[in-house]
Symmetry: C2
Amino acid sequence: MEPTDVLVIGGSAAGVVAATTAKATYPDKRVVLARRDELSLVPCGIPYVFGSLGSTAKNLMPNDSLAKAGVELRTTEIASIDQETKKCRTADGEELEFDKLVIATGSEPLVPSWLPGADLNGVFTIPKNKLYIDYVLESLDRCRKLITIGGGFIGVEMSDELTKRGMNVTLVEILPHILGLAFDEEIAVRAQDLLQSRGVTVRTGVGVKAILGEDQVRGVSLDNGDELATDAVILSIGYKPATNLAADAGIELNERGSIKVDEYMRTRNPDIFAVGDCAEKRDFTTRKISGVMLASTATSEARVAGMNLYKLSAVKTFSGTIAIWSTGLGEDGFGCAGLTERAARTEGFDVITGVFEGIDKHPGALPGAHKQLVKLVAARDSGVILGGQVAGGPSAGELTNLIGLAIQNRMVANSLVTAQIGTHPLLTAAPTAYPVIKAAEQVLWKMSA
Amino acid sequence: MEPTDVLVIGGSAAGVVAATTAKATYPDKRVVLARRDELSLVPCGIPYVFGSLGSTAKNLMPNDSLAKAGVELRTTEIASIDQETKKCRTADGEELEFDKLVIATGSEPLVPSWLPGADLNGVFTIPKNKLYIDYVLESLDRCRKLITIGGGFIGVEMSDELTKRGMNVTLVEILPHILGLAFDEEIAVRAQDLLQSRGVTVRTGVGVKAILGEDQVRGVSLDNGDELATDAVILSIGYKPATNLAADAGIELNERGSIKVDEYMRTRNPDIFAVGDCAEKRDFTTRKISGVMLASTATSEARVAGMNLYKLSAVKTFSGTIAIWSTGLGEDGFGCAGLTERAARTEGFDVITGVFEGIDKHPGALPGAHKQLVKLVAARDSGVILGGQVAGGPSAGELTNLIGLAIQNRMVANSLVTAQIGTHPLLTAAPTAYPVIKAAEQVLWKMSA
């Protein structure tokens, strides 16, 4: 039996950050990260394996950074957790004792059991698993036509990258638009138009009735009766928390099957923490339980857990997910943070919006200048910024992060309008037309109207 | 005599923003912007006229946006202000009456009267004046060798752009490094090495004794006795507030010659406001009077003035400059906000720093990935972020703005470490290695050490 101080189960982004943060915060503790696979993929990089990168080897999380941080990596599968004796048993029958346990077992692709043909050969999912992704990559080499089911960001990024690879890709999404949960309609439409202009066929507002084929997939039949021929299908309809291990150990789950945690990321057992896709999330603003699974949320939770393991800090808490993320399609960047207008209205907030479209360099005559749109969603009574969406160029990711910081600081439109923003011809919009400020101005005018 | 409600004098970034904000806030008022020149240059774009843009015509502030905003543009030079009668007289003898006056007369290049030869033909400054810049552009066409005196951002950007244009450029800076006031040494060195690698000869730590020549410049003699031959010289040693008009009207100036203002941007006369380079600035953190002249500061002041003209708002104030700016050299971006480590220590703050260097995409194998360094300066007692510096790729501008927002919200290292940051392979660093969070972590470890 091997004693550890801190045992982390799961070695994707959340597990790695929890372990390295724990070791940095408590340098005297022995921190062990137990991971099933020797090599772990950079999770957000997976779609790019299929195009820009070309192989999983170029998309690995560096193991040596764990060693450098003083974290011990154990390649082993944890089969069970015993809360009573504070021991984990591996699939090989070994025992690992823990003082503090961090569960970071992540998520698994949803496979629609109700969908006929979902188990045919040539139907793939996108798990965070190097061996399986290698297998998908190799299998797709023999295919010409592909159907992606589900237009969330994994579906969109996979479709774009596989089109770049030369495949003939059709994306099918049951909602009226791709990325329809992340963006309000007018921004989703832009992303969709762009994806189509990049060569992906997009079918929205229609569901999939069945995947067709005997042994091998040969097509997809849609709700409206259409049949599409294909050589392969990628299912990207979502992910579910991987929490069997926790459930078997008697650790409480919520109604979504996620591990219940408090704002220090502790389960009901104060020595057991959970972080990342397997852990319960609440929305930053609505406080409702959320199904969001994002690296930004996961790594923030992991830092909070790592720092609070042996002593709680009231100023190092996880305050709920703002669901912040971004994506790129060629030279175009999209991002969002907080509530969309639609989500805020559905929830019952009286909101006003500000939208500004300009360019991401100035003057516009500079080479590489790109359109840049910002939409802010604010509470009418207070001017508090509840959400923001960006459609722009390569700086859209950091611009989204700036909006995210405004949301997390509960900034009001007044503070944004008087904020100081550095601007430079090659790097940003003009100081007279900085989109976040101009959108906040519109919020103000509407508030006082 | 012509009556106006709001009269703005000066039509660069600050004047334009003050006028358009005034009209948007008080739509019933007649807002007139009086500007000497028919056409006005985008101020930060001026260096790029000499390389990437090629002409001033591509670097104009669009006049039609004034008209669209409902602001009347008057091309006229204001010769005097009468506080008593609330009238301005133009150089043509016309009178413009005002209810509220906003002075946005900007700044003029410093010409070192103590420097022999500063008045020779072929010695240029860089004012915000289209006709003069056209003249410099044309004059430099006949030159092969150029010396830039002063390694602030105008000197650096001019040197880089004129090198791209094919000139043989030497930059002379009396401080140990270029950009030495904006950056701590280790970041300034990076910018300097980069500028040299792009073909500019950089001489630092040496002053200029005289500019040589009879009628036409032919060289520069340095403090150390060296003589450099040249066809032209650009003086970029700084700017002084253009406040003669205000001073003649009896409006109070501070010891730097800037118009004294309160946090609503009012002079002692509550009907007269001043914004931009001509207005007094205080540092956000030290509260000391500052000589910073930046579009970010100017346009923020202009928004505050425009909104407070007819009724003050306690939540729309200018809280002091964080001196935020960024610059680009090819694919490299640099930025800073708030206090440098050196400035903070000089001022008497007990500070700790966090530095993290990573890459601006992830995994690093993605095409176009660029090194990205962030340095944070924080108060040891509180963890409050006092300043930050960035050396990275094209996203460095928005990343600097994110740090600027953290400073303006007086965020502490704890809040940054637990912040949620959206990350994407093509747009940002990895969630496990986001430089602002990693640098804030270092601040925390040092605080608890």
